[in-house]
């Protein structure tokens, strides 16, 4: 069956990076309404449009390329990208749109994180990473432990213009992955080294088609 399901590619930077996931959904609903584009709504007691972000974006995260999919009641014309870009708040930019005829999943992601920390940061961080660290997360009383190297493909720590820049290449398995911020926090706790995150960015996201 042919549906008007569209896949939008966009980038996000400051200040829009501080918008939460739920607020992003509401924002796009409003933007489409302003452009008089009719979205397909769910049935039921409290209908809402189906805007689905392939990856959730934590508050504060910048990204060079993200994807959301949305089902419309109508066909979209090619100038939709320009129309959206004219009304988007600062920090958001639409890159391209395509008909979503298949399903995709995220396979891997490249991150770069900038932190303010002491001179020797990288030395200690590399040492920490060699010890096959884990990240503990507590949610509603349930503790989950993730082994960093189960998800991490590689990392690199170096000094750039007074800040520390750490690159991570992260593997995503069935939608499950590890957040670089959590690795940094764990390190900070274990080594008692203060590190203040000043920017987190997804530089590249890899996708694979699923059948």
């Amino acid at each position: 069956m042919l549906t008007n399901r569209y896949r939008f590619y966009f980038s996000r930077d400051l200040p829009a990076a501080f918008i939460s996931h739920l607020d992003m959904t509401r924002l796009f609903e409003r933007l489409f309404r302003r452009l008089d584009i009719k979205l397909k709504f769910t049935q039921g007691f409290n209908p809402h449009p189906r805007i689905v972000f392939i990856l959730p974006m934590p508050v504060g995260l910048c990204s060079k390329e993200e994807i959301f999919e949305v089902e419309c009641e109508q066909e979209l014309s090619s100038d939709i990208i320009d129309s959206l870009n004219k009304i988007l708040p600062e920090g958001l930019k639409m890159l391209k749109v395509e008909l979503a005829t298949d399903k995709i999943q995220v396979s891997d992601m490249y991150y770069q994180c900038f932190v303010e920390a002491e001179e020797e940061f990288c030395k200690y961080f590399d040492e920490f990473m060699k010890k096959s660290p884990t990240v503990k997360k507590e949610k509603e009383g349930k503790v989950t432990v993730k082994h960093v190297w189960n998800f991490l493909l590689s990392h690199e720590c170096k000094k750039v213009d007074g800040n520390i820049k750490i690159n991570f290449h992260i593997n995503v398995m069935n939608g499950s992955y590890i957040k670089p911020e959590d690795i940094l926090r764990e390190f900070s706790r274990e080594y008692n080294i203060e590190c203040r995150i000043v920017r987190v960015e997804r530089v590249k996201v890899g996708y694979k088609r699923v059948i």
Binding site: F18, R34, I87
Partner: protein, 613 residues
């Protein structure tokens, strides 16, 4: 580093960083270098509350219509952000250009509730400005304030240069014009303030001397010179069809308290409930025409994109043919998947039909506000709602599938007896029985909420004493014990001490300014937020200033006493308020302005329904 970058760096470690980024839909962008006057509108509470305030948004866009003015916004940062800002030595900043507030020409506070007074002072501290008006010299911002609280401006008199009384749409522009004269000449601040006092609606507290009697009541309020008016008359906008209303309205990126388009359909209220301040100060009733409302509704939906539009007023059922209006809006809203909400609707069978038809996303709860438990007491307060009407509407609502009913009452009203309190229990019990009689399977939920009566300035009850804390406790317990006997009823009550402080501040005089400053120094802020409110700190502040707060809350005044807010003229005469108070004592009601003129005095403004008839 510029302020903006500094701010963004802090946002990784604070709650809801979206509060501090500005950048909203329809935000106004200008070059600050190219304007004569930079105006910062300040709301003394968090972003989500401030951005829900319609008055703030009207003034924001109105001021920005002028090419020579750039109006920006600032809100009270949450405690985590305050801490970070202090650590970094940062001042309060605006959301448009991230400019520190002490660089602005005019700072304008919106005063919506007394419990935000400590936040006003805290914000001035965060601006790095002296709190006291007299310590701020030319070159520092002029601090003005507007909003309903300014109908008794005295508790903040020391800190605010100019209070703007009434509706701000016109007077604010006159203040800007005068400010420009002041800024670009060698006019002194004192001369500016004197000239400002000549603008109708401007109250400059430093130009009045207040003397007191030995018993603490006011002996006299005297202007310092002949050019300063003896009374300050509020300003109104005469015609809502020609007055300014923004339809390219700023729309937040994060969820706020009232996360929807708000469209004002009329101002004022004709009902005259005797406890209600809004019912007096916003008189006369002025309707916006249906054509205008429809036009604005369309434009707002197009420009904001929200999924809900709310038609607001003090008493929506009083708008002529409100059902037809709602249906016409529905015609285009439905297609765009925009829901209509109609708050402050008088509930009866017609309005239930209307709600069913227009509110596509149905609210699960129906709310009634009988305010008092017996007809006798409802007559005292002139709340024109009959018990039989509540029951018939509730029955209808149950049959239509509503299972949640909310009932609002006030405890501690003048002339209240214990029968009135048990009357609340009777209403709750009867409602539950109506539900049982219908024989529905699901459980009903009846929520009874009580607040404590707070006597407000410019109301017929302005002379009344508030109940003592002990009495409040006793009455709350009496009701609680009674309601325990009814199944499916939940009872919640408002904090005694919060109501007490509200009563003290709302009828306070100039002596309270020192107390408020003490309270801030003792750490009081966000008093309206349960987790921060601490009455013991306030008690300490009163004690340090040697003031008994009971003098303000628990004392009944004589009709002859000079009241701190007598300086403000709302158009409604003191004689009318007194007459209404005496009618209350006799349990006699007064009709609404729609039936006949009650002679309150506001007709002197020659606006709205006072002249339409």
């Amino acid at each position: 580093m510029v302020v903006k970058d500094k701010v963004f760096k802090l946002l990784y470690d604070v709650e809801k960083p979206g509060r501090y980024i500005g950048n909203e839909i329809n935000i106004v962008k200008k070059d600050p270098e190219k304007v004569d006057v930079r105006f910062a509108i300040c709301f003394p509470d968090v972003y989500e509350i401030g951005m829900s305030n319609l008055g703030l948004k009207i003034l924001y866009h109105l001021l920005n219509e002028r090419e020579d003015v750039y109006c920006e916004r600032a809100f009270m940062p949450w405690v985590d952000m305050q801490k970070k800002m202090q650590e970094e030595g940062m001042k309060l900043f605006s959301l448009e250009t991230f400019t520190e507030l002490d660089e602005f020409d005019i700072i304008g506070f919106s005063l919506s509730y007394e419990m935000s007074y400590t936040n006003v002072l805290k914000m001035l501290y965060l601006c790095g400005l002296p709190l006291e008006s007299k310590k701020r010299e030319k070159g520092m911002p002029i601090v003005i304030a507007g909003g309903p609280c300014t109908y008794n401006p005295e508790p903040l008199w020391e800190f605010i240069d100019v209070f703007v009384i009434g509706e701000g749409e016109e007077v604010i522009l006159e203040i800007i014009d005068l400010y420009k004269k002041y800024k670009f000449s060698n006019m002194t601040k004192e001369e500016f303030l004197h000239e400002c006092a000549g603008i109708e609606g401007c109250y400059v507290p430093s130009l009045y001397n207040v003397e007191y009697n030995p018993d603490g009541a006011i002996k006299s309020i005297t202007p310092v010179s002949e050019n300063v008016p003896k009374k300050v008359r509020k300003r109104i906008v005469k015609d809502l069809n020609t007055s300014y209303f923004p339809t390219k309205m700023i729309t937040p990126l994060i969820e706020i308290v009232h996360d929807r388009i708000t469209l004002e359909i009329f101002r004022g209220c004709a009902r005259g409930c005797r406890f209600c301040q809004a019912g007096i100060i916003y008189r006369p009733v002025r309707f916006r025409s249906r054509e205008k409302i429809l036009q604005y509704a369309k434009e707002l939906v197009e420009n904001c994109g929200c999924n809900e539009i709310s038609l607001v007023s003090l008493s929506t059922s009083d708008y002529p043919s409100v059902d037809e209006l709602a249906r016409e809006i529905l015609k285009f809203a439905e297609d765009k998947k925009v829901n209509i909400s109609l708050p402050s609707l008088r509930l009866d069978s017609t309005s239930l039909d209307l709600l069913k038809e227009v509110e596509k996303v149905r609210k699960p709860t129906l709310t009634f506000a009988p305010e008092a438990g017996t007809q006798r007491l409802r007559d005292v307060i002139n709340k024109n709602i009959k018990e039989e009407d509540i029951y018939s509407t509730v029955k209808l609502a149950f049959e239509r599938g509503f299972q949640n009913i909310k009932l609002y009452f006030m405890l501690g009203l003048p002339l209240e007896k214990d029968e009135d309190i048990t009357g609340i229990y009777t209403i709750a019990k009867n409602i539950r029985e109506i539900y049982k009689d219908i024989g529905l399977k699901k459980r009903v939920r009846i929520t009874v909420s009580t607040s404590f009566f707070v006597p407000k300035p410019h109301t017929p009850f302005q002379w009344e004493a508030q109940d003592s804390i002990e009495n409040m406790q006793r009455k709350m317990k009496l009701l609680k014990e009674n309601l325990k006997r009814v199944k499916d009823v939940e009872y919640s009550w408002h904090d005694f001490y919060l109501s007490k402080l509200e009563a003290v501040l709302s009828r306070g005089d100039r002596k309270l300014s020192r107390v408020i400053k003490r309270a801030v120094d003792l750490g009081c802020q966000f008093d309206d937020w349960g987790e921060f409110f601490d009455f013991s700190r306030w008690e300490k502040a009163f004690w340090l200033e040697n003031i008994d707060w009971r003098f303000y809350s628990d004392r009944k005044r004589d009709f002859e006493e000079i009241l701190p807010w007598d300086i403000i003229d709302t158009g409604v005469t003191k004689e009318f308020l007194k007459k209404e108070c005496l009618l209350a004592y006799e349990q006699k009601t007064t009709s609404s302005c729609f039936d006949r003129c009650t002679g309150c005095g506001v007709a002197s403004f020659r606006g709205g329904i006072c002249v339409d008839k």
